[in-house]
């Protein structure tokens, strides 16, 4: 069989094998990549896939599927995994179908999409700041979003839907943090410290708001302020799904120049990246994703740290593992909520507490590990 990718007309996509493997295609992909090339009237097109990234993403996706089936099957009512699959297509008895489709599936979706959004926002912010500690959760954006959303829930005369309020809060916190760190840039500890300060103020605002209202209202709002998938404001999840679809597409479209943001600004700019504009785009994306996710689940920002960290440890250092971080974030959130729901039944541990218990030591480990130059 001939492997000249160009000539074959029967297959629009032809795998261009490496010259070393005996193909007579003159183009061999860079080491560690698969290349697909096809020719059209105007010229030739080619796309590259990093082999390791493909394997990692498929692996994470597979793990997410398995975790999802387990998530749907475990709980106060146990449903066998095979029954879960039947219930999903409506072939199981009414009870199982109700538990899986009506009770657990919406919550699983919320876990997946919030985890994905937090982790994507996290890796975007880390790339922007060239600092692995600079996640939206740590620089105060989660807390800003929470404070604003709580304000609208406990009612201080503002009656805007939580997603809008969370977005406004996330933006406010981002403006404050970047404003306070102005001059010193986003690199270095001053930016992080400014963010921690902003986060602390908004955390206090949230507590103050809760202290001012009737105990029942405060009780109802409390789980959400530590991060819980139990009380999901209506409409927030749909908005998050839309935002995540757009955000992930945009982020992947920017992936090539994000890789260059890992270099110094002068290098990235010299290679044709409009650094200022790209950073602003990345910042807006990260803040919006965080706001939308907080509106659903509250501040579970730890996932924004853990997801990218898992993705980076699995990936090569060639690029920014956006998709892997997104998948890892979803996986972490699903597993954390599964643990929160099932470990201490009938008591349910808010997912924000589970991720904090796991994420705290993780953060310490990152801080104490010999510093690799980030990314």
């Amino acid at each position: 069989m001939k492997t000249t990718s160009i000539k074959s007309t029967s297959m629009p996509f032809t795998h261009a094998t490496r010259a070393a493997l005996g193909g007579n295609d003159p183009v061999s992909p860079p080491q560690g990549y698969w290349r697909f090339a096809w020719r059209h009237q105007q010229g030739a097109n080619s796309v590259l896939f990093e082999q390791r990234a493909v394997v990692v993403n498929l692996g994470l996706f597979g793990a997410l599927l398995v975790a999802s089936v387990i998530y749907l099957s475990l709980g106060s009512v146990k449903v066998a995994p095979t029954t879960v699959l039947k219930a999903l297509v409506g072939n199981a008895d009414m009870m199982a179908t109700f538990v899986v489709q009506e009770l657990r599936l919406p919550r699983l979706a919320a876990a997946c999409f919030t985890g994905a959004a937090f982790a994507l926002a996290g890796i975007l912010m880390q790339t922007l700041a060239r600092n692995r500690l600079a996640t939206p959760g740590i620089i105060g954006i989660d807390n800003g979003a929470t404070a604003f959303a709580v304000a609208s829930i406990v009612g201080i005369g503002v009656s805007i839907a939580p997603p809008a309020m969370a977005l406004a809060g996330a933006t406010t916190a981002a403006v404050l943090t970047f404003g306070l760190a102005a001059g010193s840039g986003t690199q270095g500890y001053r930016f992080i410290v400014a963010g921690i300060g902003v986060g602390a103020v908004f955390g206090a605002v949230t507590q103050l708001l809760l202290a001012r209202v009737a105990i029942d209202t405060a009780n109802a709002a409390y789980p959400w302020t530590v991060g819980s998938l139990n009380a999901r404001p209506s409409g927030a999840l749909q908005l998050l799904m839309l935002g995540l679809a757009l955000g992930l597409t945009t982020a992947l479209a920017l992936a090539r120049s994000l890789t260059l943001l890992r270099f110094k600004d002068a290098t990235a700019s010299g290679l044709g990246v409009n650094v200022k504009r790209r950073r602003l785009e990345v910042l807006l994306l990260s803040v919006a994703l965080t706001g939308l996710a907080v509106a659903v689940v509250g501040p579970v920002g730890m996932v924004g740290l853990i997801g990218p960290e898992i993705a980076r440890s699995l990936s090569s250092s060639r690029g920014v593992p956006l998709l892997a971080a997104t998948l890892a974030g979803a996986l972490v959130m699903v597993l954390a909520d599964l643990a929160g729901r099932t470990l201490l039944t009938p008591i349910e541990i808010p997912v924000g507490i589970v991720t904090a218990v796991v994420g705290g030591p993780w953060l310490l480990w990152i801080l104490m590990r010999p510093q690799r130059s980030y990314t």
Binding site: R35, A44, S46, L271
Partner: protein, 275 residues
């Protein structure tokens, strides 16, 4: 693009010039009313004492900083109006003390030079492959192609970065103190590579803090002091004892290199030490 993709060095003769260029950092005016024109296909060195504005000028030429007044003209057009990506096909930049992300290999770094020529549906063409191979060879790095950047010597690392700019295939190359952290042997590696590039049609501009290497390796010298140009021209004609004194407040004896004809600085001493 006017150049044909079939030649390995598709370089047109570019013209880079400034028109009463003024640049400032914050409130401080660093350079003002600067008019220079860089000779095509030659190595230009910008020299001067610390803080004379030479790096600022380079940043302006590379569009890293926006001019406060005046303009940088590339082939007659204001570079502020060019899309960043298009500029990157005309002008490559090696910033001072460039750092590569950890674990990146030489070839991977060089591949980034192809970025301005690539797109989502043009990620790796036959042209890309050929140009990267060419850049590896031109910089003498074939043996080190798969070595991580952090495992290289200073000179090799700098050659890898220059190879990246070679892969960018720009007619213009700007270097900011490319040899500042290198020992003598490694400096020579870098300078000879830069000279080689100019001989093959590139216009090279480098900021140097060492006047001696500028005399040896530059065809054209721009000497700056306090944001102004003090002298401009071939080293053999513009480098005088007066110039050296004006620039650095030192006295010296000027000799002529018997092999290259370029000026040599000898017996360099502080002005105040002169009796």
């Amino acid at each position: 693009m006017s150049h044909s993709p079939s030649t390995s060095m598709p370089l047109s003769m570019p013209s880079l010039a400034t028109q009463s260029l003024g640049m400032s950092y914050g409130a401080r005016l660093v350079i003002e009313g600067l008019n220079i024109s860089l000779p095509s296909g030659q190595v230009t060195a910008i020299v001067g004492p610390n803080g004379c504005g030479k790096s600022t000028l380079l940043a302006g030429l590379a569009r890293l900083h926006k001019p406060g007044s005046g303009a940088v003209l590339l082939n007659g057009a204001d570079i502020q109006r060019l899309p960043t990506r298009q500029l990157a096909t005309q002008l490559a930049l090696l910033p001072q003390e460039a750092v590569a992300p950890e674990g990146l290999t030489v070839t991977e770094l060089i591949r980034f030079g192809r970025q301005p020529h690539q797109g989502w549906l043009r990620q790796w063409s036959a042209e890309d492959q050929r140009v990267v191979q060419h850049a590896l060879a031109a910089a003498g790095l074939e043996q080190l192609a798969d070595r991580p950047i952090d495992a290289l010597s200073g000179g090799q690392r700098q050659r890898a970065w220059i190879a990246m700019t070679i892969a960018q295939q720009t007619p213009l190359l700007l270097l900011d103190e490319p040899t500042s952290a290198l020992d003598l042997g490694h400096q020579i590696e870098v300078f000879e590579l830069v000279q080689h590039l100019a001989h093959h049609g590139r216009t090279v501009v480098m900021v140097l803090h060492d006047l001696a290497s500028a005399c040896r390796y530059a065809d054209h010298l721009i000497a700056m002091r306090e944001g102004q140009i003090v002298a401009e021209g071939p080293p053999a004609t513009v480098v005088t004892q007066d110039l050296v004194r004006t620039l650095y407040q030192v006295e010296c004896t000027l000799l002529t290199d018997p092999d290259t004809g370029s000026p040599l600085l000898a017996n360099v001493r502080r002005s105040s030490a002169v009796s």
